[in-house]
């Protein structure tokens, strides 16, 4: 493709000359972009082809449910939606606590299709939304890169990279109906508009940037990244002495309109002027006013001392404003960093203070294989691209540098933020690679070196950047070009091989790692054939068909969204972890003795308890492995009743076998997980395949709950909470009586006789 887009390609034929040439190239560009978009969509359909058109893991199920609510009840009901089927009995003000962008988008698509009499099931729209938007993302990154680099091939390369990079596919395969699905497109496109605005210095582009920024805010909490990146860009430009009316116009437009737009989202509300995450934007806004003012004055009166005075004045004001900000933050008028955001900076913070955040797997730091896995060869083209941005350090390239450094830091701290890194990696890599291609794909052979062009190039380069005189060491010499065809062929061939390898890698990763809807587990049988493990849906549909529509289901919060979506039953806690205390309550119920748990479950009107148990199949993501988090979170609220220490052996091991400490053995979670498990094996042979340990010969006894359902592979087990005993006895006594061992004769009572008063 690069060859097709080379400006001075001297291949024969009228199509590549003059006016027609431009049209031909434009046409080719369009065709190529369409193919890229098609590729991006196609490479995300593995899961649909392999399994079925189904919503994936956890959060998407909530988004799907919300979308259904939206298309059924209309927008205003959705806005005021009070969800009484989650967080029982507190309920959740869902309309005010979610980012509506995703649901509204798919709702709009649904209505549009109906308008043209194409009634499509909303589920299919939701499943295919992410791939569809990935095509747009590819296009957006094409636009952005074309703004950043003058090479015509860079944009197309960036587009295809963005289209198939696993780092982005991981969150946008068909069925992963999550906010990121559209947010990444909005992120890239907003950046494009911002760059455009900074270059043109036009209010229009600034306004567009603000518009899409607003859309982004409505779609994803990650908008904070933009909110801090753009001001940083502006700030750095000012520090580089590159303040210009263009910057002033674009930033002020973006900030004013964008802030207003973001405040329209109920969930965001007044955060943009109350919380520290947004203060940098505000501060830079103020700073720009100051700098603009001084700039204006300086043009008016050239008196040296006055300018000095002005400078100091500006400095003083800046310092005072900053101090004021700090003061307000300390005094609490401005909300300090929110936990999730704070844990990005102080990496140890979450582990100590907010176990609930630390417990989420995608908040873990990233090891280097993950980077290579998600970005393959782009990861080493990336630095080269960043370096090339320094060559002619225009405003927009400064932006790329900042973006690159920040994003790679965040991606290093949190796995999920790999998502924000991927676009800049694709762009930078494309810039680097396009540079090579443009150099080595020149058909013509340069003449013997002469000094003339060198000087030209040099002072041309000097002109590009007024602020900073000298240039990179690597670009000192005059540009001559490549002489021998051999080296051209060699490098081109190598690069082609690498690109092919990259494509293979992406396809492999996508099909193997990122295309399984964790609702349905796929496993390989000994004979290599694929075996589908469908316990989750089996259990959820059991709930849906065999329980009262308002039967409350208690489970750990990971499964809340799925129960709400698939089983359509009220849950106590779910993946929207807004109420730590409520989650801790569930944790306490799970980690305490039955006598303690039963009153809690009665109080919360729990009808069924659902636990996930992998011991039979060796499925490691089960509740016993998550148990420690339940204990920790519960301990955070009831430090005296639940103690993590009690769940370890004296040697500090976490065990489930005979050596397991009593607190562990008596906990409701343990009992429910291993209840009747030993019946599957010959006596004393019960084996837990996850923990790899032999279980006690005597299985646990349950008195306050009774087994209601256990799925095929025992992954999901559902228990029914018993009603109070009809004769007012404790369940333990009732059970003992059923088994036939009678109570003691009361005549043998010890101590003083208790008289009855009535």
């Amino acid at each position: 493709m690069a060859s097709a887009t080379k400006p001075q390609s001297t291949a024969s034929g009228v199509f590549f000359e003059g006016e027609t040439a431009r049209n031909t190239r434009g046409l080719l560009r369009i065709i190529i972009l369409c193919t890229i978009a098609a590729t991006a969509v196609a490479s995300r359909l593995f899961s649909v082809i392999r399994f079925e058109s189904i919503i994936h893991e956890f959060d998407p199920w909530f988004n799907f449910r919300a979308t259904k609510y939206l298309v059924q009840n209309g927008f205003y009901d959705f806005w005021d939606w009070f969800d009484d089927r989650t967080w029982h009995p507190l309920g959740r003000v869902t309309g005010g606590t979610l980012y509506p962008g995703l649901m509204v988008t798919s709702g709009a698509i649904w209505h549009a299709l109906r308008a043209i009499s194409l009634p499509v099931d909303i589920r299919n729209i939701c499943v295919l939304l992410a791939p569809g938007f990935s095509g747009l993302t590819a296009f957006a990154s094409y636009l952005l890169t074309s703004e950043l680099s003058d090479s015509p091939s860079a944009g197309l390369l960036a587009a295809i990279f963005m289209g198939i990079a696993p780092g982005y596919i991981s969150r946008s395969v068909a069925g992963s109906y999550d906010n990121e699905a559209i947010a990444i497109f909005l992120l890239v496109f907003t950046f494009y508009l911002w760059i455009k605005a900074v270059k043109e210095g036009s209010v229009m582009w600034g306004a567009f940037a603000a518009l899409f920024y607003g859309y982004m805010v409505s779609a994803w909490g990650g908008y904070v990244f933009i909110t801090n990146l753009l001001p940083l860009h502006a700030f750095v430009l000012i520090c580089m002495g590159r303040f210009s009316p263009r910057l002033y116009v674009s930033y002020t437009t973006w900030y004013a309109l964008g802030t207003l737009a973001s405040m329209q989202i109920p969930f965001v509300g007044f955060l943009p002027i109350r919380s520290s995450e947004h203060m940098s934007a505000l501060g830079v806004f103020g700073l720009l006013q100051l700098v603009g003012f001084t700039d204006y004055i300086r043009q008016q009166l050239p008196s040296k001392q006055f300018q000095l005075l002005l400078r100091t004045l500006v400095l003083v004001i800046f310092v005072v404003a900053f101090g004021l900000l700090v003061l307000l933050t300390v005094s609490g008028t401005i909300a300090p960093w929110t936990g999730r955001f704070y844990s990005l900076w102080d990496t140890g913070y979450a582990k100590i203070h907010i176990p609930i955040i630390a417990s989420v797997s995608e908040h873990q730091p990233t090891a280097w294989p993950a980077f290579f896995f998600d970005l393959n060869m782009l990861i080493w083209l990336f630095p080269a691209g960043v370096y090339m941005c320094f060559r002619s350090l225009k405003d927009e390239q400064v932006f790329v540098v900042i973006y690159a450094v920040l994003a790679s830091y965040f991606a290093g701290v949190m796995v999920r933020l790999m998502l924000t890194l991927t676009p800049v990696v694709c762009i930078a890599a494309a810039m680097a690679l396009s540079q090579i291609l443009d150099t080595f794909l020149v058909a013509g052979e340069p003449a013997e070196p002469i000094e003339a062009p060198s000087t030209k190039t040099n002072d041309a380069k000097d002109k590009t950047v007024p602020g900073i005189p000298e240039v990179l060491r690597s670009t000192k010499g005059p540009l001559v070009g490549i002489y021998s065809y051999m080296s051209k062929a060699m490098i081109t061939g190598a690069v082609t091989c690498y690109l092919l390898l990259f494509v293979m890698h992406c396809t492999w990763v996508t099909s193997n790692a990122y295309s399984s809807p964790s609702v349905v587990l796929a496993s390989r049988l000994p004979d290599g054939s694929q075996h589908i493990i469908d316990d989750y849906r089996e259990a959820y549909y059991w709930l849906r068909q065999n329980t009262k529509p308002d039967a409350k289901v208690m489970s750990w919060w990971d499964y809340g969204y799925q129960i709400g979506g698939m089983a359509d039953r009220p849950t106590l806690v779910d993946n929207n972890t807004w109420n730590n205390t409520h989650i801790a309550t569930v944790g306490k119920a799970m980690s305490s003795r039955e006598e303690v748990s039963y009153p809690i479950m009665r109080q919360h009107e729990v009808d069924y308890v659902l636990v996930v148990f992998g011991g039979l199949l060796g499925y490691s993501g089960d509740d016993i492995n998550k148990f420690l988090w339940m204990i920790r979170i519960a301990e955070g609220i009831w430090p005296d009743e639940v103690k993590e220490r009690d769940f370890f052996t004296s040697r500090g091991e976490y065990r489930v076998d005979d050596e397991a400490p009593p607190a562990m053995k008596n906990s409701l979670m343990y009992k429910m997980s291993y209840y009747n498990f030993d019946k599957l094996f010959p006596a004393g042979q019960a084996q837990d395949r996850v923990r790899g340990s032999r279980l006690p010969a005597q299985g646990p006894e349950l008195s306050t709950v009774e087994e209601a359902f256990t799925s095929e592979n025992w992954i999901v087990r559902i228990y029914k909470v018993k009603d109070l005993d009809n004769l007012g006895r404790s369940h333990q006594d009732a059970g003992a009586f059923e088994k036939g061992n009678k109570k003691k004769k009361a005549g043998k009572r010890k101590g003083a006789r208790v008289l009855r008063v009535d």
């Binding site: 005021d80 009070f82 009995p89 507190l90 004769l727 059923e738």
Partner: protein, 460 residues
């Protein structure tokens, strides 16, 4: 509650003339045919009230309490067996299942025969304790019958107790009730479902005639801790009544003349007949059965739409529940005993309101009383319950839970900005800014310098 209604249905399906709220089939466990005649008056009374009675011996092999897994009889009267045990068909577990099935049991004991262990362990489950040695009986040296037990003092003559405040009085008869050779029961403190019907006098104590010791050390129980007749209502309102002395039901005592010692008045007739009638009425759910007729809650302002599923915070809500009571042969409006009230809880996790409902005759239903109140929903959204739980001694339990959602203010339910006087400065500020900006733009465009294009073209 639900069980009562179910039983009610069954009962009416059975025989329409049944007086009990739960059906008329009564099983009497009596060991020997000969003894039947002793109770002839009692049987006659029961049959007269429309029960069809089945007499079975505990030894009877094809005796079964259950038919197709459901209780085969609505009521069971257990007379003390001669033999030690009750046999395989009346094990404690079966009897408990019988109660869980919603049927009532009237258990008559007697100090003549040793109490079977099965009965003993069953009573222990209900937290009723009998003397450890099975043959001990209750004696009272101040309140015995001179004529029949001049020297043994084991026929107690007990007048009805003073009615307590807030507790319904079903059992008071005038005159004395004779309880010969009664087995005293001691009720545990644990269970709120127990209540005593007849207590022994303050000077009574439990004594075992078998042991020859002079005087008694550490009697099992003394005074008013001894219950002669006690009642237990399970959560499903099935009634289990323990009558300490089965002889009290016998004809001999229905029309016996008795005399208290140390009192001047002459022998009077016992009130056993009346008492037996009252007791069986209660035990077999002819009285004290409550039923919820209708529950209504709605917004205070528009009572049009009844029982909506969702309210808003700070709504004024009206709630009313209609309750009627089964009195021997018809439903009558229920009125709680003086000093007692039906209470409503509006609760999420814990009650936000607990209100006593004020009663008034129902407008729609002539034999029910409407208990109603109005209140304001708390400023807390969530899933709330209108919860009425009325558990009182001798009344069947009422438990009614209506779940509603209380939502937050919708976006358009707040007052508009211009209705808030404090907001006027800000609003005016906005409009001033807009106007000012427009004016500025206008002036700017108007005062745009007219440039002549010549130099520009000259430059080209």
């Amino acid at each position: 509650m639900r069980f009562t209604l179910l039983g009610l249905l069954l009962g009416f399906l059975g025989i329409v003339s049944a007086l009990s709220a739960t059906g008329s089939s009564l099983l009497v466990i009596i060991e020997e045919e000969a003894d039947k005649s002793k109770y002839s008056q009692f049987w006659a009374d029961l049959q007269g009230r429309g029960y069809e009675i089945t007499y079975r011996s505990p030894k009877d092999t094809n005796l079964s309490l259950f038919l197709h897994g459901e209780p085969a009889y609505s009521h069971l009267l257990l007379l003390p067996p001669k033999s030690k045990g009750l046999g395989p068909n009346l094990t404690p577990n079966l009897l408990v299942d019988f109660i869980n099935g919603g049927s009532n049991i009237l258990l008559a004991l007697s100090a003549e025969q040793a109490v079977p262990t099965a009965i003993n362990s069953l009573l222990l489950e209900l937290d009723i304790n009998l003397p450890s040695d099975r043959t001990s009986l209750v004696v009272d040296h101040l309140a015995y019958d001179l004529t029949s037990s001049a020297e043994k003092h084991d026929v107690l003559l007990i007048p009805s107790a003073e009615p307590k405040k807030g507790v319904v009085d079903f059992f008071s008869v005038d005159g004395l009730v004779a309880f010969p050779r009664a087995v005293g029961q001691v009720l545990g403190n644990a269970s709120p479902m127990l209540s005593s019907i007849v207590k022994a006098g303050a000077s009574a104590y439990i004594y075992n005639p078998k042991e020859e010791t002079e005087g008694v050390e550490d009697p099992f129980a003394t005074g008013s801790q001894i219950n002669i007749v006690s009642a237990f209502q399970a959560r499903n309102s099935a009634r289990f009544t323990v009558l300490g002395s089965s002889e009290a039901l016998q004809d001999t005592w229905f029309d016996a003349k008795v005399r208290l010692p140390g009192t001047d008045y002459k022998a009077g007739k016992t009130s056993n007949k009346e008492f037996a009638q009252r007791l069986s009425e209660w035990a077999f759910k002819e009285i004290g059965v409550l039923r919820v007729e209708q529950v209504q809650h709605s917004l205070d302002e528009d009572t049009k739409d009844i029982n909506p599923k969702i309210y808003r915070v700070k709504n004024d809500v009206r709630y009313s529940i209609e309750i009627s009571e089964w009195d021997v042969d018809q439903w009558i409006p229920f009125n709680p005993p003086t000093g007692d009230a039906v209470q409503l809880e509006f609760s999420m996790l814990s009650p936000f309101h607990r209100l006593s409902l004020n009663s008034s005759p129902s407008t729609t239903n002539k034999d029910a009383t409407a208990f109603s109140t109005t209140f304001r929903t708390p400023d807390q959204h969530g899933i709330f319950n209108f919860y009425v739980e009325y558990r009182r001694p001798f009344f069947t339990a009422i438990e009614d839970k209506q779940t509603v959602t209380v939502r937050h203010f919708a976006h358009d339910e707040f007052p508009r900005s211009y209705e808030i006087s404090a907001a006027w400065p800000w609003i005016s500020g906005i409009w001033v800014t807009i106007g000012g900006w427009l004016a500025f733009v206008a002036i700017w465009l108007y005062s745009k310098p007219t440039r002549d294009n010549k130099p520009a073209s000259a430059k080209k």
